[in-house]
């Protein structure tokens, strides 16, 4: 891209303009040239009220990346105008968004002129607020995200991390603890029931042995070799079976 200094440009234009006859045409042409020169003066790198924009289309879209040409630039300028209209409620137009310093990276600077007075720039703060408010719409116009469509110096409004109302871990914890406590109660209940059953088995046995003792005692007078029922003999029986 050829670069012209301001004076050189004016000189060229003057030569061009004077080569034509007709003062009207001359005046119009000079006016046009001067406004574009003035616009060039408003938009420059590190402008106090301008922002640098950087697009990473290939990173975001890969094979489906579109080419960045003047149609896309027009879309950008109109999107910015839309954002400014939403912010300041004034009739911004595409011509109010001035772009310069385009690079092959696809990065450029832009400034916003006020529709009431085109030589005044809208202040940086309003531009920033407009961008932040409409960031989503601007991003979706280009199928990009906050990282791939960067406005240098405008921080992203980050989405708060999603926190559900009841922490999910409490639910899982409740389930696990419920199962474990239920299991403990079942086990303890089971062992208590088993002990009761054992006791019930023993008490009928005790009654039997008492009956047999009394039978033995009543029979003492009759059969001498019956004797009293002796528990120790039953134990030996168990061993001898082996």
């Amino acid at each position: 891209m050829l670069r012209f200094s301001l004076s050189e440009l004016l000189q060229l234009l003057k030569n061009f303009c004077f080569s034509f006859s007709g003062k009207m045409l001359e005046k119009i042409l000079i006016l046009l040239c001067l406004t574009s020169a003035a616009a060039g003066q408003l938009c420059k790198p590190d402008a106090s009220d301008g922002y640098k924009v950087r697009l990473s289309i290939k990173t975001a879209l890969g094979d489906q990346a579109y080419l960045w040409d003047e149609k896309e630039m027009f879309l950008f300028r109109s999107t910015m105008a839309y954002a400014m209209r939403g912010q300041l409620n004034q009739q911004f137009d595409v011509s109010n968004i001035i772009v310069c310093e385009e690079t092959a990276r696809v990065s450029f600077w832009f400034v916003v002129t006020s529709p009431l007075n085109t030589s005044n720039l809208v202040d940086k703060k309003s531009v920033e607020e407009a961008v932040r408010k409409h960031r989503n719409r601007i991003n979706s116009a280009f199928l990009l995200t906050d990282e791939t469509l960067e406005f240098e110096g405008i921080p992203r409004t980050l989405e708060a991390p999603f926190t559900p109302d009841t922490p999910p871990w409490l639910i899982v914890f409740g389930v696990v603890m419920g199962a474990v406590v239920a299991g403990i109660i079942v086990f303890i209940g089971f062992s208590v029931v088993q002990k009761k059953r054992k006791k019930n088995k023993k008490t009928p046995e005790d009654e039997d042995s008492e009956e047999e003792e009394s039978r033995g005692k009543t029979m003492e007078n009759g059969a001498a070799n019956e004797g009293v029922y002796n528990m120790s003999f039953t134990d030996e029986e168990r061993f001898t079976r082996i």
């Binding site: 950087r54 921080p155 871990w169 899982v172 474990v180 086990f187």
Partner: protein, 613 residues
């Protein structure tokens, strides 16, 4: 060597062969295994713990990869297997828990059993805290997106909390959200209630699994011992399909022969074998005592050694596929960031620098505009350095693995799977741990005999829960590291050494050989004889001495998470406060010294009794 110390009255204290045959046929009141598989699974679950998954891969990688593996396997057979068979055989022969066994050999040796019980108690306390952290992560894995994938916003919503921004989301979630760690072990900072809740969950789960002793825990091991292998296989298959997995595996197995000349490598390998087998905890002796008398314990010892060796290497491979993947991801994003910086600085079109021509482009730009490039502050991307950031211990599971899982599609499912595996690994080790605490308590008659097994388990778990609230403080992680370093190192080595001396020279190696012959039908071969008498005690003694010498020479420091330090986000190394020496003595000294202390006390007691009579 026929050297045996005089041991009068031994035959009166231990059951004779006839008694053993008789009790074998009768139904005793001692618990029994339902089948052999339960016993093997319980032992496998006990030996394979969380340490296999994270401690062994780290040691492998920091001590020369393939060379360390060979060294580890050699020491596994030389040092671990003989001591394992010793514990199995003595438990099966004398049919008592750890205190009962040593008391039967000689009442003066009861100190070994008490030492084992104390070690099991101390280790169990901090081990269950690790399980509580794993449960916290497990409970929090049931949501999408995972809570450790996002940083919280700062007050005005323009950026993230600085502590999170400067380190990473995983670090922040672990140190701040989960633990809320203070900056030193001295600042307790109060109790962090999510950890209390998780500790409660952990202790109640272990209580219910062990509530009736091995009859309940023996059923639980079918899940807790087998599930980790299934999950490891799934992770292996998943890991091998990840990008960069092979570079991790190659890094792990690349042998560095120079490492074999360093003594610390041998020290670490020997110590790792000891911890891998959970020797000297007392649990293995207890488990073997429930076996039938003619169970082939030699075969069991060899099977268990093979399984432990295989599992260590298997989990190392799985871990390093994941570490390789994470390192490759970090490397790729480092290169992309550098490319973006260069493109933005020089306003070049997007496609001009790619990963393939990055080096050439960088050199070209550096030579044409060196000051601009220097001003950008581009960091060089080093793959080797990223691979060597295989952080050990708690850092590996909760930071490295969670980061890798976040990159996998369907991350909540992988996260649940991973933490369920860690949970099963931990809890199956804890069964053996609790066995090593509860059974000696019963043998020492410290709890009323009338209490049923459920009450004993419940009371033990409850008291342990109260004590482990120490780890629920804000400084809890530093206490866990302290316990891990000191309660789980020196006492195990000393008790293991005493065990071998007691069996070989006080019980008598000849008698022991006869016992093994009675139990399995043939005498142990020359390999076992040499190992029991010379090799294993020598190896353990050398490791112990070297360990003590190196530890006493270093100043005791620990790593803290301090956002205000210069090295943040790396952990800062600060010295311990002076009162920590007392704590270390309680953790490491008291269990080790119970053996001579008890013998001495008993000597004094018997002497006074004699003089009174």
């Amino acid at each position: 060597m026929r050297f045996v110390l005089a041991n009068p009255g031994l035959d009166n204290r231990i059951p004779s062969y006839k008694d053993l045959e008789r009790t074998e046929e009768e139904a005793g009141d001692r618990p029994k295994w339902d089948n052999k598989a339960q016993y093997i699974l319980t032992c496998v679950g006990f030996c394979i713990g969380i340490g296999n998954v994270w401690r062994f891969p780290y040691l492998c990688q920091s001590h020369g990869g393939g060379a360390f593996i060979i060294l580890y396997l050699i020491l596994l057979v030389l040092e671990g297997m003989p001591l394992l068979l010793l514990e199995f055989a003595i438990g099966q022969r004398l049919r008592k828990g750890s205190v009962g066994v040593w008391r039967s050999i000689n009442p003066y040796l009861t100190g070994i059993g008490i030492g084992s019980m104390l070690v099991s108690l101390l280790i169990g306390l901090y081990y269950n805290t690790l399980i509580a952290w794993i449960m916290w992560y497990l409970f929090n894995s049931f949501q999408n997106p995972l809570p450790w994938s996002q940083c919280p916003l700062n007050d005005n919503g323009t950026g993230f909390v600085p502590e999170c921004q400067r380190s990473s989301t995983m670090d922040y979630y672990f140190y701040r959200v989960t633990l809320n760690s203070s900056t030193s072990i001295a600042e307790s900072g109060g109790i962090h209630w999510p950890i209390v809740v998780c500790l409660l969950a952990a202790w109640t789960v272990i209580c219910i699994c062990y509530i009736r002793g091995i009859s309940t825990s023996g059923k639980a091991v079918y899940v807790t011992a087998i599930l980790p292998y299934i999950v490891l296989t799934i992770f292996l298959i998943r890991g091998l399909t990840l990008k960069g997995a092979l570079s991790g595996i190659i890094y792990l197995f690349t042998p560095d022969i120079n490492e074999l000349t360093k003594p610390t490598t041998w020290l670490d390998a020997g110590a790792q074998v000891f911890y891998a087998f959970s020797l000297a905890w007392g649990g293995l002796i207890s488990f073997s005592s429930y076996n039938p008398i003619h169970n082939n314990c030699m075969q069991d010892a060899m099977i268990l050694t093979a399984i432990t060796g295989f599992t260590s290497i298997f989990s190392a491979v799985v871990t390093y596929t994941v570490i390789g993947f994470r390192a490759t991801e970090n490397y790729d994003s480092c290169i992309s960031d550098n490319i973006l910086t260069l493109l933005n600085a020089f306003d070049l079109p997007e496609d001009s620098i790619t990963t393939s021509n990055y080096e050439a482009a960088f050199h070209h730009l550096n030579s044409s505009n060196p000051d601009i490039v220097f001003g950008l502050g581009i960091k060089p991307c080093d793959m080797q350095k990223l691979l060597s950031e295989g952080v050990e211990g708690t850092g590996l599971a909760f930071i490295v693995f969670t980061e890798a899982i976040m990159e996998m599609p369907g991350s909540p499912a992988w996260s649940v799977l991973f933490f369920v595996m860690l949970f099963c690994l931990g809890i199956s080790t804890l069964f053996g741990n609790i066995e090593g605490v509860v059974v000696p308590l019963k043998d020492l008659k410290m709890l009323p005999k009338k209490w049923p097994q459920e009450a004993i388990t419940g009371v033990t778990c409850f008291i342990a829960f109260i004590i482990s609230l120490l780890f629920a403080q804000h400084s809890g992680i530093y206490w866990v590291t302290l316990f891990d370093n000191f309660a789980g190192s020196v006492p195990l080595l000393t008790i293991g050494f005493f065990e071998m001396i007691a069996v070989v020279y006080i019980y008598g190696i000849d008698r022991f050989n006869e016992d093994v012959k009675f139990m399995i039908g043939y005498k142990p071969s020359i390999f076992w004889q040499v190992s029991w008498r010379f090799t294993s005690p020598l190896v353990v003694l050398v490791i112990l001495v070297f360990y003590l010498v190196t530890q006493s020479q270093e100043e005791l420091t620990y790593l803290v998470w301090d956002p205000k330090s210069d090295q943040f986000p790396s952990l800062a190394s600060v010295p311990y406060p002076s009162w920590i020496n007392l704590i270390i003595f309680i953790l490491a000294g008291i269990p080790s010294l119970t053996v001579p202390a008890y013998a001495l006390c008993r000597l004094v007691f018997v002497y006074f009794k004699k003089t009174n009579n």
